[in-house]
């Protein structure tokens, strides 16, 4: 069953963004873009979330926070880095307090470029993340089954 794709709940965290990307993220929830059409809800709770959307680069103070948020989210989960700062640190990357992009702390699945990332791009990124989320779910629920199948595939590969 693919309920997960139809009901992705989002946790939005502002690492050290200038707020530009955050405004664009929130714009996705407004009547103009209305992401609730896709069942997307902006939760404020990592324990309810499926997709972690992070804006801004990682600094020394929020490194632990981001890690904690990520670890509190139940599997399957994906991370979407929004904006160039979340991808690489952007124009702040050489600041003394910036560690770099979000992938310095937690694994990132989708990068949404832009300064600021446009709402259309963000929605695109989330849709892309849904595919990865579904893959992860399939991997998680059918891990035993998948193992079996890969074993069969390997055997078939050997025989040919």
């Amino acid at each position: 069953m693919a309920f997960l794709k139809r009901s992705p709940w989002i946790l939005h965290y502002d690492a050290s963004s200038c707020n530009g990307c955050d405004i664009e993220v929130l714009a996705c929830l407004t009547p103009l873009y209305d992401v609730e059409r896709f069942g997307i809800i902006n939760t404020g709770n990592p324990k309810h979330a499926d997709i972690l959307m992070i804006t801004g680069g990682i600094n020394e103070l929020n490194r632990a926070v981001v890690k904690n948020l990520y670890e509190q989210m139940p599997e399957p989960k994906v991370v979407v880095a929004i904006g160039i700062c979340a991808a690489t640190g952007g124009i702040f990357r050489e600041c003394y307090n910036i560690a770099g992009g979000v992938d310095k702390v937690i694994p990132v699945d989708v990068y949404v470029p832009g300064c600021a990332a446009r709402p259309e791009m963000i929605i695109d990124g989330v849709v892309k993340a849904l595919g990865i989320l579904e893959e992860k779910r399939a991997k998680m629920t059918g891990s035993a089954q998948a193992k079996e199948e890969t074993r069969h595939a390997a055997e078939a590969g050997e025989s040919t």
Binding site: M1, F3, L4, R6, G44, H48, P74
Partner: protein, 286 residues
């Protein structure tokens, strides 16, 4: 046998009806806000999704309490649709919420505790009114049994307008709608994290959601009792009441918990005045 059929039908159909009502609710809410809104079946997708998630549990006791919450909500609803004793139903209903509060207190999280405390305040706010409603039905129909209240030919709403209005006020609390959605809310997903449901995730949260569907169907059944002398009017009245609740939800901001408590008790006073006048009239008539 009739009572058994009612109970079984409730247990099977209420989650479906409740989920559909939730879907319609979200759609209408979206339209009121100028949005397209999620698909009608969105609540089912959400709950299905929650069952697919990893079971991340902080304290195993919380799962037990939430399951007890679901069972007692289903039990009170089943008793109601079986035509059982209204007082027993009300007490089973209250007990269910006590389990939910215990579930939230079982976890050492300040957000969960704030939500649990507020749920208790809500319980205090609506409990008097819900019991008064039961008493009102007794005064009109001469029985606490739902089966007798439903078959009575007296239009209860004409005798109990105050009780009905009071019940509509606490219905806002019970449906977790603004301005009284203080312990947890369908809309504000970022306030006090998520109130009483903060620490519930995955299938536990799904159980809370299913219990809420059961609860909503039960409450709408309760509203129906006021109009039970004519089923058609009854169903229309239930629909209008629910639409009014959605409207109120969308045009009001959340009140403080003090206001929720005061409103609940003001509603109860309205109910008491109604019942006092009713008993005076009945004594005068006899």
């Amino acid at each position: 046998m009739n009572w058994l059929i009612g109970a079984v039908l409730f247990l099977i159909l209420a989650p479906i009806t409740g989920g559909l009502i939730a879907g319609i609710d979200r759609k209408i809410t979206a339209r009121m806000q100028g949005r397209v809104g999620p698909p009608l079946l969105q609540p089912f997708y959400d709950v299905g999704k929650l069952f697919e998630k990893e079971r991340a549990v902080v304290t195993t006791a919380q799962n037990f309490y939430v399951l007890a919450y679901l069972i007692f909500i289903a039990l009170s609803g089943a008793l109601f649709f079986a035509g059982g004793d209204l007082l027993l139903i009300v007490f089973a209903f209250t007990l269910a919420h006590v389990f939910l509060v215990l579930g939230a207190y079982a976890v050492h999280s300040p957000y969960s505790h704030v939500g649990a405390g507020r749920e208790l305040i809500q319980l205090m706010a609506y409990e008097p009114m819900i019991i008064l409603a039961a008493v009102g039905f007794y005064m009109v129909s001469g029985s606490f049994y739902v089966a007798d209240i439903v078959t009575t030919t007296v239009p209860a709403i004409l005798y109990l307008p105050g009780v009905f209005l009071g019940f509509a006020v606490i219905l806002t609390i019970k449906l977790r709608k603004s301005p009284f959605d203080i312990s947890t809310s369908h809309h504000a997903h970022q306030e006090i994290v998520k109130g009483i449901t903060t620490e519930f995730s995955g299938s536990t949260l799904a159980q809370v959601e299913i219990a809420h569907w059961y609860e909503n169907v039960f409450l709408l059944g309760f509203v129906f009792l006021f109009f039970a002398w004519n089923p058609v009017i009854g169903i229309v009245a239930v629909a209008i009441t629910y639409l009014a609740e959605i409207f109120v939800d969308n045009v009001t901001a959340r009140a403080r918990w003090q206001a929720a408590l005061k409103s609940g008790w003001l509603a109860a006073i309205l109910g008491i005045v109604n019942l006092a006048i009713l008993s005076y009239m009945m004594l005068g008539g006899a």
